[in-house]
């Protein structure tokens, strides 16, 4: 991979995942003539203006038409191109789930779908713009890999890894402007291989996406109270890293899954499905957006409302650990 400087990481952290995405796509286009970007009228929002200007022949805007967004890209992939579909996670994949199943999943095509602004990041825009179900929709489709990176460098590496991976991938992006750098140095990122971000013997936070930062802070709070919390960055929700889960099942007595998503069908659901096969696995508590539509509010307000900020996660662990 190309080297990413500390200055660049700080800039990406400040500007949010959309900027990381836009710049990474341009790097991929420079390296791979088959790579192209497809969007449905989201060019400035998704930071694709630079790509469009530099690679006009490999940039497609299908208009506000998400079903065709996916099928058109499927056609490009069949003919050997490497399409990156960029869309809002609250619209895609739900709006075009059937195209993702019948075309992309069923034919196992090399289409990469990037869902930006997942979770409740679009706060004031309201519930139609929240991505609370996208992991569930993507995860239920056979052949589709689901990746939810956690910080600026991991977003970059996940998008790169998706390009190198043969087959369909849904990359879910959370973390707006100001999302913290959690990986300041280069690190090994492999799709399907979770990262033990911090060891711990009591509670295990298993997180996906940018909420990793909240779990790390919660672990700090718990350490001050004598509770040892492991933090696992489960950046790939499908396929789950079951080796990592087996270790957690053996060594921790409480699991808290943390995600900016519905508890149904997301990380919590995936872990619970795997855990159901064990007669003596630890208790699991799900920290999530709940099975409900949200109130109106900004991102921080909604995370706090849903118990997804560090103090609330620490309290949940403390309460559940007893």
């Amino acid at each position: 991979m190309s080297h990413i400087s500390q200055e660049k990481l700080q800039e990406w952290s400040k500007l949010g995942h959309r900027t990381v995405l836009g710049e990474t796509l341009e790097m991929l286009a420079a390296e791979n003539p088959r790579m192209c970007t497809v969007t449905a009228d989201l060019t400035p929002t998704a930071r694709l203006t630079g790509f469009k200007e530099k690679y006009p022949d490999r940039f497609f805007d299908v208009g506000i038409a998400e079903q065709n967004l996916i099928d058109f890209s499927a056609g490009l992939a069949i003919e050997g191109l490497l399409p990156f579909v960029v869309a809002m996670s609250g619209i895609v994949p739900m709006r075009c789930a059937e195209q993702m199943r019948s075309a992309v999943g069923y034919m196992n095509l090399n289409v990469k779908v990037i869902g930006i602004e997942a979770g409740v990041r679009f706060g004031p825009l309201g519930n139609t713009h929240y991505g609370m179900d996208d992991i569930a929709v993507a995860r239920v489709i056979p052949n589709i890999t689901v990746v939810c990176p956690s910080d600026p460098l991991q977003v970059h590496k996940a998008v790169r890894a998706a390009a190198e991976y043969e087959g369909p991938v849904y990359v879910r992006l959370t973390g707006g402007p100001g999302f913290p750098v959690l990986y300041p140095e280069d690190f090994d990122f492999q799709i399907g291989k979770a990262i033990e971000y911090r060891p711990g013997r009591d509670v295990a936070f298993i997180t996906t996406g940018s909420l990793l930062a909240e779990a790390v802070e919660a672990a700090d709070i718990l350490a001050g109270k004598g509770i040892s919390a492991r933090v696992v960055d489960m950046h790939t929700v499908k396929p789950l890293d079951t080796d990592m889960l087996d270790t957690v099942f053996k060594q921790n007595k409480l699991i808290i899954t943390v995600e900016e998503h519905s508890p149904i069908g997301g990380l919590g659901g995936a872990v619970a499905e795997y855990k159901a096969g064990f007669s003596d696995s630890p208790r699991q508590v799900m920290a999530s957006l709940g099975d409900r539509f949200q109130k109106l509010g900004d991102h921080e307000f909604l995370l706090k409302e849903n118990g997804l900020k560090a103090p609330e996660l620490a309290s949940l662990a403390e309460k559940s650990n007893g």
């Binding site: 038409a65 079903q67 058109f72 056609g75 050997g80 059937e98 019948s102 075309a103 069923y106």
Partner: protein
């Protein structure tokens, strides 16, 4: 109006069409109680035959031939016509046709991508095949490849909003290498298209920027071949659509224009009647 085309080629297409109709009946009958979409396969026989045996370039010995013309059957429920053509073209060994809809067979009731046998894409959830075909044509144009993409679309299928999303985008991108053929047989699953969603297909595709040609006798190979050649030779720069007015269930007396033969099982008596119809031609 229709000009004279190569008489020998038309004869060959008609011979292939007759063989394909027979294949459709044999495969549909062997499916037994599992039934088959007879009506929509039979209406499209001359269209598919004109493509495979009149205009398309391909090599059954090399299904991945880079400059082969692509055939996408978006109205996937009419797969029997597609399989029948692939058998006659040499992609699918004839003895395998009796596995249609059988357990563990690759010949499913809607096509599943299988390049070994020349099946380019999975289709059947309506609208998707056409939209994927548009993407394939766009890729070919981008890569400056000279093959064409032919896509068979149903008239009922034009109810799908996705069809119009793709129609818009193909016109915007001036996909001159794309030729869609609409099998306008006038009947969809639960009734006549005029009763279910009465739209002016010709005006619609025209308004969205396609070059449109109507073939009044859509089961006439000479007329279809002429239309296909005209579209291939066109320099309009637009994507092309041929609207072929066909007869649902064409060639089998008790199926023609019937509302009840969209999809159903066929019994022995009906099978014998159908074979007699074909033999009496």
């Amino acid at each position: 109006m229709v000009k004279a085309v190569n008489g020998q080629l038309v004869e060959e297409i008609n011979r292939k069409a007759a063989a394909m109709r027979r294949n459709v009946i044999e495969m549909g009958y062997v499916a037994g109680d599992r039934g088959a979409h007879f009506g929509p396969a039979l209406s499209s026989i001359e269209i598919v035959a004109s493509l495979f045996f009149g205009v398309m370039k391909y090599d059954p010995g090399d299904p991945y031939l880079p400059d082969r013309d692509r055939f996408i059957q978006s109205k996937g429920h009419a797969c029997l016509a597609y399989y029948a053509a692939l058998i006659e073209a040499g992609f699918i060994p004839k003895d395998l046709m009796y596995t249609f809809k059988a357990d563990n067979s690759f010949l499913s009731g809607h096509p599943s991508r299988n390049m070994k046998y020349g099946i380019e894409i999975s289709s059947g959830s309506l609208g998707n095949g056409f939209a994927v075909a548009c993407g394939m044509a766009n890729a070919a144009k981008m890569k400056k490849e000279n093959h064409r993409v032919y896509c068979l679309v149903g008239d009922g299928e034009c109810n799908e909003g996705l069809v119009w999303e793709a129609v818009m985008n193909a016109a915007k991108n001036r996909l001159h290498n794309l030729i869609a053929i609409i099998d306008r047989n006038g009947v969809q699953l639960s009734g006549r298209t005029a009763d279910i969603m009465d739209i002016d297909i010709e005006a619609g595709w025209n308004a969205f920027g396609w070059e449109v040609l109507v073939v009044e006798e859509g089961n006439n190979a000479a007329h279809l071949l002429d239309a296909l050649i005209r579209m291939k030779d066109s320099r309009s720069g637009k994507p092309h659509v041929i609207i072929a007015n066909t007869i649902k269930g064409k060639g089998i007396s008790f199926m023609e224009n019937s509302l009840s033969w969209h999809a159903r099982p066929m019994n022995k008596e009906q099978y014998e009647h159908a074979i007699a119809d074909l033999e009496n031609g």
